[in-house]
Subunit: 166 residues, 2 copies
Amino acid sequence: MGADLKISARKRAEKIWAAYAKAQALRSTNQRTLICDIFLESTGHYTVDDLLAKVRARDPKVGYATVYRTLKHLVDANIARESNFGDTVTRYEFALDDQHHDHIICLDCHAILEFENEEIEILQDRIAEGLHFRLEDHRLELFGRCELAKTKKGCPRAKDKPGMPS
Amino acid sequence: MGADLKISARKRAEKIWAAYAKAQALRSTNQRTLICDIFLESTGHYTVDDLLAKVRARDPKVGYATVYRTLKHLVDANIARESNFGDTVTRYEFALDDQHHDHIICLDCHAILEFENEEIEILQDRIAEGLHFRLEDHRLELFGRCELAKTKKGCPRAKDKPGMPS
DNA sequence: GTAGTTGCAAAGTTTTTGCACTCTT
DNA sequence: AAGAGTGCAAAAACTTTGCAACTAC
């Protein structure tokens, strides 16, 4: 994904956010602006803790609840996407609707890679149609071991994080 | 899925369970036997609460912890599969490894249908290979509105259950 | 008898909510 | 000034764990 695409995605996200904020009559507070900025700058999959840490680096007084509440708005505005890759924590990523991608997660090092596959999406549409569903969303997660994890030394990134599915 | 297949799946599950129990030196207690029986008889996607209710109908003294602990064993033995379809509760279903299927969930009535698609599995393998992953597991969930939900009356099964993804 | 199992209650996690105070509009 | 937004702490929802009593082997 090139830098150009990322920049324009962010610009679009900002427009969507502005429209959403206006429609919902949201007020522009420092905390909210800060959280949105940090979120839109981010490229990975972050827990609320992760994001709060980044936020507090710039404003130590921000509370958990505000991050949760702001993320809820971002999800609602279709700018953020929630996922929990087999474990108990919810992770948030910046993802506009039309940029849909899926994930492959390394069970050893917990790296999360993204991929897109048009063919699978087409098959999904066909399946939904066959079952008389109007498809609105989907979630595809692949779990495996990445190349580094396969070596005898194991993946150097491997840490004991909370449970991924067996 | 015919009754024959289900019966043989159950028989296979019982064999796997017996082998697992032996390997782990698990003891055969009334509670554990009861929970396993109820779980193996079940065909849907149940929360711990659901299962505990069924268990307590036959033995009211069984505690949460025992159900959690037994399900953990069943997951470990690859007889049960955990999923959480966008909400916060973990659901368990009886699923042997080689019977893998995916789910389509109605956002209105929360019905959960199962499907299998060989083509998608092949594409997944190809994607994982391309990214140098050894694939171990996957999770595909489609979210949409079922046929009944599309009528102007809405789906009659619709209830306000906790949040599904937007 | 030994050691795995159970049920209870307490503790842990993650997320939501009530409330007094603050800040935007 | 009105009321949306914030931070804190308490509550909620779900799951795990410590422990004394129990039970399979």
